[in-house]
């Protein structure tokens, strides 16, 4: 698989995502945000960080970076697109995913491992997991409180598009403990926790490595 990790000015989990994809055996490349071509990529990852210093709102300015036209085309073609943390914020700002990520309810930046429950295996990124399985991955964000209007939340629930939920303590006050969601087609996933920081035992958890294996994709079943 060819994996492209997009770098925005202010991305800071780009090297981690690159490492995770490389470790999983993929041909991996960084793509600068001024690039307009993602045609070679099977999978695109928008990594975490603070693109454009989080000015205005997290992801609000990155959403208009030149590369985003190619990211949108990739998504609309049904190809797998993963937004992690700031990448999730960018996908919401770009309206490739519904809702928004607001300031954490308790205002403090939260940086610690959290427990997650897999709610859907119907995406290329969650296919290797069992529904109901619990995972440990770190979160690191100040604006991770997922919000959406009630109708949107109901629709997400009804159509199985909530893919991850926090278990136990909700780290940011997210509606319905939502940690990650998918688009209607399931090819676009956004999540606040960092799977790329949980790919080796030395990192405290390897629960994210299956996501980067992209085994279902490679086998042509997702």
């Amino acid at each position: 698989m060819k994996v492209a990790v997009v770098r925005f000015p202010g991305s800071n989990c780009d090297a981690d995502a690159y490492h995770a994809a490389l470790l999983a055996g993929h041909e991996t490349e960084f793509v600068w945000h001024r690039s307009t071509d993602l045609a070679q990529a099977d999978v695109v990852v928008l990594p975490g960080g603070f693109s454009y210093g989080d000015y205005l709102r997290p992801g609000a300015i990155a959403r208009f970076s030149p590369v985003m036209k190619a990211v949108e085309a990739h998504a609309r073609a049904g190809r797998p697109l993963l937004g992690i943390c700031n990448g999730f914020q960018i996908l919401c700002e770009a309206r490739l995913l519904p809702g928004a990520l607001a300031r954490n309810a308790h205002l403090s930046f939260v940086c610690r491992p959290v427990r997650l429950k897999v709610e859907s295996d119907a995406t290329p990124f969650t296919a290797p997991y069992r529904v109901g399985e619990e995972l440990i991955m770190p979160v690191a964000h100040g604006d991770g409180r997922y919000v959406a209007d009630e109708a949107t939340l109901e629709r997400l629930e009804r159509t199985g598009r909530v893919v991850f939920r926090y278990v136990g303590a909700n780290p940011n006050g997210a509606s319905r403990d939502i940690a990650g969601i998918a688009n209607e087609e399931g090819n676009v996933v956004g999540m606040m926790p960092h799977p790329e920081r949980a790919v080796e035992p030395i990192l405290g958890s390897s629960d994210g490595s299956r996501m980067f294996a992209l085994a279902a994709l490679a086998a042509g079943v997702a």
């Binding site: 609000a60 300015i61 928004a100 607001a102 300031r103 309810a105 919000v147 006050g173």
Partner: protein
């Protein structure tokens, strides 16, 4: 014509505003009594050229819809539009 406009972007009413709450508590602890609630948003001062005030307002509306406000979490209002002479 040159104009200066002020645009106010506020968190949607009904949406939890933790910054506002923190300031509310700080005011209370400083002894400021009878403060009902505090909400925190942002104001943008934008200098621009246009043919009329109506055109300024129209363009600001488009800017808010596209970039300045997030319709999921924020409401916006154009507070003032002043012609520069």
């Amino acid at each position: 014509m040159k104009f200066t406009a002020r645009v106010r972007v506020m968190p949607r009413s009904g949406l939890l505003d933790p910054q506002g709450q923190a300031i509310e508590h700080a005011l209370a602890s400083l002894g400021f009594e009878r403060v009902g609630s505090v909400r925190v948003g942002r104001e943008l001062e934008i200098a621009l050229e246009a043919d009329s005030e109506a055109q300024v307002r129209e363009r600001l509306g488009a800017m808010c819809e596209k970039l300045l406000a997030n319709p999921v979490t924020e409401d916006y209002a154009v507070d003032t539009v002043e012609a520069q002479r």
